[in-house]
Structure formats: structure tokens, C-alpha cells
């Protein structure tokens, strides 16, 4: 469904002035914000409830709260897991360990 106007030849719809925009997944999940990134999972994890092929939307601007699912860089490798303040006291995004992004949304296509 397009957001643009249709040409009406007969009576103008009384609904027109109440028209609102379609739902937009881009807007809802802030897809075009500079801090939003999407990654794909390889392999299953019962513990995290994730399946191979799942896609995750990450927000890099958020400060994670305890136990929130985050993508970490630990010893220069990516690792997905629960955030723990105790484990990651000093973050250094240029050379050390840090939170690469906070997982906000799970995208799973059902086949």
C-alpha cells in the first residue's frame, strides 16, 4: 500500500482528513539511525533462545542494564551474552574489551 494519494473521480472520501501514515518497521526499529546495526546468528543457543539465521537489531548508543543481551568484544573477538557490570568494569572501544551493541530486537523469519 502506497502512502501517496489516489485520484478520486466521484465523491471525496470523508476519511481523507483523518488519514495517517502506514505502520513503518523502519521507524519502529530506527533502522536508519546511525547507531543501528543488524547482525546474523550462526548456530543455535538454547540458553539465549536463538536459532541459526536469526537476525538481531543492535543499538550502539544505549547503556546496557544488568543481564541485558549484548554483543561484546572480548579479547578482540565477538561474543554474544548477558551484560555484567562486574565482568566489564572498564570499557575501551578502541583497544580493549567493550560492548559493541545492545540487542533490542530479534528478527526471525518463520519458514
Amino acid at each position: 500500500m502506497r502512502n501517496s494519494d489516489y485520484d478520486i473521480t466521484g465523491f471525496e472520501s470523508p476519511c481523507t482528513e483523518f488519514r495517517e501514515k502506514n505502520l513503518s518497521l523502519d521507524e519502529r526499529y530506527q533502522i536508519d539511525r546511525p547507531q543501528t546495526f543488524i547482525v546474523e546468528i550462526k548456530g543455535d543457543s538454547h540458553k539465549l533462545g536463538l536459532k541459526s539465521g536469526d537476525k538481531l537489531i543492535l543499538n550502539r548508543s544505549l547503556i546496557p542494564h544488568e543481564d541485558q543481551l549484548v554483543l561484546l568484544v572480548i579479547k578482540n573477538e565477538f561474543k554474544l551474552g548477558a551484560f555484567s557490570t562486574a565482568q566489564l568494569k572498564d570499557q575501551d572501544p578502541e583497544t580493549g574489551d567493550f560492548v559493541w551493541g545492545v540487542v533490542t530486537t530479534l528478527l526471525r523469519e518463520l519458514k
Binding site: F37, E40, K42, L50, S52, S61, E77, P93
Partner: protein, 419 residues
Amino acid sequence: MNYIGLVDCNSFYCSCERVFNPETRGRPVIVLSNNDGCAIAFTKEAKAIGFGEMCEPYFKMKERIKKYNVAVFSSNYSLYDNMSRRVMEVLRDFTPRLEIYSVDEAFLEFNGFDHYDLESYGKKIRQDVLRFTGLPVGVGISTTKVLSKVANKIAKKQNGVFFMTDQLIDQSLKHFPVRDIWGIGHASAAKLNMLGIKTAYDFKMYKDDKLIQKLLTKTGREIQEELRGVSCLAMENIEEKKNTGTSRSFGVSVYTKKELKEALAEFSTVAAEKLRRQKSVCYSLTVFIHTNSFKEQLPQYYGTDSTTFLSGTSDTLRLIKGSHLILDKIFRPGFEYKKAGVLLNHLVPKSQNQLDLFQGTPNDNEELSQVVDLINKRYGSHTIHSAACGINQNWKTIADYRSAKFTTSWNELLRIKLG
């Protein structure tokens, strides 16, 4: 007081690669040009072990790359473009006026920011860009563009941020070599050195304005004024481009006219899309083809010619046709071609396009172009293109070490292994 900030990304291409390949952090990283011919970007770790000579051929570096465990990437322009736009989006929130100067640097206007502590503001900019995009930047702030460039260079030597206040300007310029000033090339620096001008401070204080005007023209005088805190280079919103174009070296040597026609059709397509994106038309088209000048033992040839249009155009098919007519004139058989390109000159905004006196209406098939652009935007570039661009495209660029298009292709997302 009006202030200007200059933000630029450190080793931009290499840093983009590191965001998605954290194992390359701390290691030397280099990025190769189109066709993996030579190196065009280096991290400071790579420079520290002797890399950094612009366009050093890749084959000459191979041994050293192995020895020092250097991470090598083919250039991934789709990724760099996307990351660049992210950086600019973050910066936009820090200023009412942003001038994007290049893929990895931008000027920020800070008029009426007197009640701000610009040193902390600069730190916040650096911190946010790093957190949001993963890219490290340097921030220099001062009263003119030239001075903010100076401040930026000094920032890189400390913790990445430098607010060069009026009180700090003179002592900073005293330690700043004149050849490092923005806009002062080798030749100009040599002339200034002859006059005994060694540092930016010497240049600022040099009294004989007329002599500077004579030696370095108006540009040199403007730079000198900017060093004195007098703003001469205004903020520009959109750079009005006078020409655009596309050229590429071929992945393999190309001998036939058929292959060159395909390549030129492809370049014309890309260039026409650029034109339409900036809502311009061009009045003239130049095509060039040439052999590989590094292969001195082979016969060399450089061919070029231009054609003009009576009414401005941004029509892909017209430009392809034009490029093929020129090729017919300049093509010589028996040479091993290495590079070709199209240049579109004399650009004007589409709204100022002149009509062809004898034809009355423009020849551009605008509706077709619009539909093609829309389809390619929705389903990915090259979904629909002129058959003149060829199907196999044997001449296509080599990119053996290109990283994935992590941010623009669903098929190439960053993969995270579990377990």
C-alpha cells in the same frame, strides 16, 4: 565569538574495517585500491613499520605483509560510504550548520555557542561518534577553517580533541610547520621557506602582504588572513560541482572494442545516476582510454575526445550512446587497455537547463530514468540496466580481499557464531 570545528576520522577506510573485524585492532591494517593494485590507506601501526608510501604496488609489499602479520583489505566503498553517512548523521546533532568536506571530514559551525565549554563539547562529539559508529575521530576547534585544521592536527597528537582558544593560537602556530598548513602545497611551502618563513606563526606575522599575493596568489593571502583569525573561507552548504565522472582500472587486460563498450556503458550509467541524484544535467561528455604505463615494454596509447550536447542531459541511454560514438573515434586495435573512464563536464542544475532551439523539448527520456532509478533503489543497484553494459563483464575490478557489505546487504550481514 564564532567558532568552527573540524572533525575527521582517523585512517577512515582502515577504521571501518576494524569495526567489523575487531581482531585487526592493534595490528597494522592497509586497504588496497581498486583492483588491489596498490595501497591507499594505512593505520598508524602500518606506518610505524614502514608502510605509508601512497600507491606502493601491492606485489612489492607482499613479503613485508606476511612478516608483520598485516591485515589487508580490498577497498569496500559501499561500506565506507555507509559508515561515512552514519558519522555525518551523528555530527548533524551537534551543530545547526554542517559542511561535509569529504568522505571522512566535516566542518561544524559553532556560532552563538559562547556559553558552551567547547573543549568538553569536542570531547562529547568524539565520544558519541566512537560509541555510535565505532570510528575514532579527531576534533579541532578554533575561529577559522584554517585554524580549525591546525587544531585538528594538534588534536591527533594528544587525546583527539583540541580547542585552540585565542590565547593558545600563537604558541600553537610557533610549533606548526608551514608545510602542514591546509592549502599550502610543496611548492608554496618551498617559496615561503625561501622568505625565511618556517612556521605557521612566521607566516601569520609576515608583513609584506603584497609579496605573498604575488607568490601564492589570492588563495595564499586568504590562508594568511585565516591564520590571523579573519574568516575568508565561508561555510558552504552544498558544494556546487562543475563536473563528475567514473573511471576504473580493469581487473584483466582488455583488448577488444566490445569490452570497452561494455565498460563505458557501465561508467556512463553510474555517472548518469550521480547526476540525477544531485539534480543536474551536463552539457559535455569526455571519454578516455589508456594502456598500462607501468608495462613499459608494451606499446602505449592514450586516447581521449569529447562531445557536447545542445541541451543538457542526465539520460543514461544518451550518455551511453555518446560514449560509444567517441570510442569509435579514439579506439585503436592492438593495444592492451588497462583503464577507461567517462567525465561529465559543464554541469548545471536541472532547473536551469536550456532547451534545444531546434527541437523544443529535451531529448531526455525522464520517465524511463525515473522508473529505472526507482527499481534499482528498491531492489538493489543493477537490478535493471542497459544491455550495453554487458552480461559477463569480464573487465570487472578485482577485489580479492573485500570485506562484506555488512550494513547494506541482507546477504552479507556480520555473522556472530554461537557456542
